[in-house]
């Protein structure tokens, strides 16, 4: 996405949140890195499930 397309209206609610840069968008879609994140997220969720009940 080209961030330059967004028109910011100063002081509006929508003017405050952060916008992802091109680099951020690249990492979100760079599949080798996302495979790693998939493994990490799975491990975190498994830990959550295992630790959530006794």
């Amino acid at each position: 996405m080209d961030n330059q397309e967004h028109k910011t209206i100063a002081y509006s609610e929508e003017s405050y949140p952060p916008m992802p840069t091109k680099t951020t968008l690249f990492w979100r879609r760079f599949w080798p890195y996302q495979v790693w994140r998939w493994i990490v997220l799975n491990l975190k969720i498994l830990r959550i499930v295992a630790g959530g009940h006794s």
Binding site: W31, Q34, G52, H53
Partner: protein
């Protein structure tokens, strides 16, 4: 021989009944009472609502599944609970009314030794005038609602393809609604469908929510590590919307919906209107309207159920201000205090209070989300109740040593947008625990190592993986019991 009756065949009830059947010998009866024909994997309704899946892909028939493993299935709705029996029947029993199996409308009394109430919520569209798929808005709360939403969405997309502008309003349709996560996922998917057709220039997409701040999701928001900071889910959520040119209205209690127009009150007490061409708004939830009677047929509904229709369990229901809420208020065993052989699982149990801070407008309107209890916590609660009953029945152990408090368990909320291996994206949020524990985690209310918020393809794959994994598990395919709840 013990007879266990499970009311409901959603995530919690289905988990409980299948575990009970697996672990108990056939001399014990497991009976499921549910008014529906199908089990359905609710999180995938979102894909049905944008035409990327058919209802058939998110559901399967319950009766053959139960017949195969020896669970007795009665397609019926529970009408009343009689924990002490009555003059004619000394056993505890449930009165049911059939909705299928060629017995529609017939009543039956079903005796039980143990009862698990896992009825889920009633979608209270009547709580907001003009709300619901039969009236002026659509819903994604069930597969048939989602299928209807897709038909309506197609009408808007077709108009846009002819050059007509369309306004989309998605969010909560009641001042006390929950399930913001599902609505949030739907708005991202609607945006994706519009964007892939290159129709953004004709779309005005707006998020409307009863949250005090975006990212509350009925769990008082969360703190997450992101971009070198520990930040709030408010920033995370707003960023996701801003990236897509979606605007928002927060602190809004929707009170009435007409054709193409809704009316809402803000937390500051001001009244507003908003027009729309397409609106998907989540209703409030209530209990299913079950009644309870004692042995003299005296109505004891108010003793067994909270005013919202959900069943009272081992929670601390003492009224106290937000500042005094504790993690220990939340139930651990889901056993009812009045009747030790009755348990309430998943959405059916009455929470001690909300997780989000109660907020009231100057007019006295309560505008804040109810606590979410779907998915992972529902499955875990269903399993824990089953494990305790298995030990009770097999060993006579009534200590209920298996515990699962929402203030000690985590949950994952994956908001996936798009379809296909590389074209999707997702916001993945995990929280641990679900209910903040400010005594144990004074800095952020939760364990920051396992409270995560990140965007990317990984979450999208995870959502796909979960769709197939949990349907595999629910269908009882090989090694289903190895898969987590």
């Amino acid at each position: 021989m013990s007879k266990i009756v499970v009311l409901g065949a959603g995530i919690s009830g289905h988990t409980a009944s299948t575990w009970l059947r697996k672990k108990l010998s056939k001399k014990h009866e497991v009976i499921v009472v549910a008014p529906v024909t199908y089990y359905h994997w609710i999180p995938s309704n979102i894909w049905v609502g944008v035409g990327r899946m058919t209802p058939e892909q998110v559901r399967f028939k319950l009766e053959p599944r139960y017949k195969k493993v020896g669970i007795i299935f009665k397609q019926a709705k529970a009408v009343s609970i009689h924990p002490e029996g009555n003059k004619e029947n000394k056993n505890s029993f449930v009165k049911i009314e059939y909705t299928g199996q060629n017995k529609t409308g017939q009543s039956e009394l079903v005796d039980y030794d143990f009862l698990i109430n896992a009825t889920g919520p009633k979608l209270n569209f009547a709580g907001t005038e003009g709300l619901g798929p039969d009236k002026n808005t659509v819903s994604v709360c069930s597969y048939d609602h989602a299928d209807h939403a897709w038909k309506k969405l197609q009408e808007s997309l077709e108009k846009m393809e002819k050059g007509e502008k369309q306004k989309f309003l998605i969010g909560t349709g009641h001042p006390g609604a929950t399930c913001q996560g599902a609505a949030f996922e739907y708005i991202l998917n609607v945006h994706h469908e519009i964007a892939r057709r290159n129709l953004q220039h004709l779309a005005d997409i707006k998020w409307i929510t009863n949250e005090f701040e975006l990212g509350d999701f009925g769990m008082a928001g969360a703190y997450i590590k992101r971009g070198g900071y520990i930040t709030s889910t408010k920033t995370f959520t707003e960023s996701f919307l801003k990236e897509r040119d979606i605007t928002w209205i927060k602190q809004a209690g929707v009170k009435k919906v007409d054709k193409g127009k809704l009316y809402y009150e803000l937390l500051d007490g001001s009244e507003h209107e908003e027009t729309f061409d397409f609106a998907m708004l989540i209703p409030s939830f209530t209990g299913p309207g079950l009644k309870a009677f004692d042995k003299n047929d005296k109505d004891i509904t108010s003793e067994v159920f909270a005013p919202n229709g959900f069943m009272k369990v081992d929670a601390d229901y003492t009224k106290k201000p937000f500042e005094e809420w504790k993690a220990s208020d939340w139930p651990e065993t889901y056993q009812t205090p009045s009747y030790k052989n009755i348990f309430a699982a998943g959405i059916a149990f009455a929470p001690p209070h909300s997780i989000s801070k109660p907020m009231f407008s100057p007019n006295g309107t309560a505008i804040f989300p109810a606590p979410p209890r779907t998915g992972m916590p529902s499955g875990v609660i269903g399993k824990v109740i089953a494990e305790n009953l298995i030990e009770w029945i097999k060993k006579g152990d009534t200590s209920l040593k298996h515990r699962a408090s929402m203030s000690k368990m985590g949950a994952a909320c994956i908001v996936s947008a798009g379809f296909g291996h590389f074209k999707g994206g997702a916001a993945t949020m995990t929280v641990f625990p679900i209910v903040q524990d400010w005594e144990k985690y004074p800095a952020y209310g939760r364990d920051i190592r396992y409270t995560v918020g990140e965007a990317g393809l990984a979450g999208h794959w995870l959502k796909w993986f979960m769709h197939y994994m949990f349907l595999h598990k629910a269908k009882g395919y090989p090694f289903w019991w190895l898969l987590p709840e």
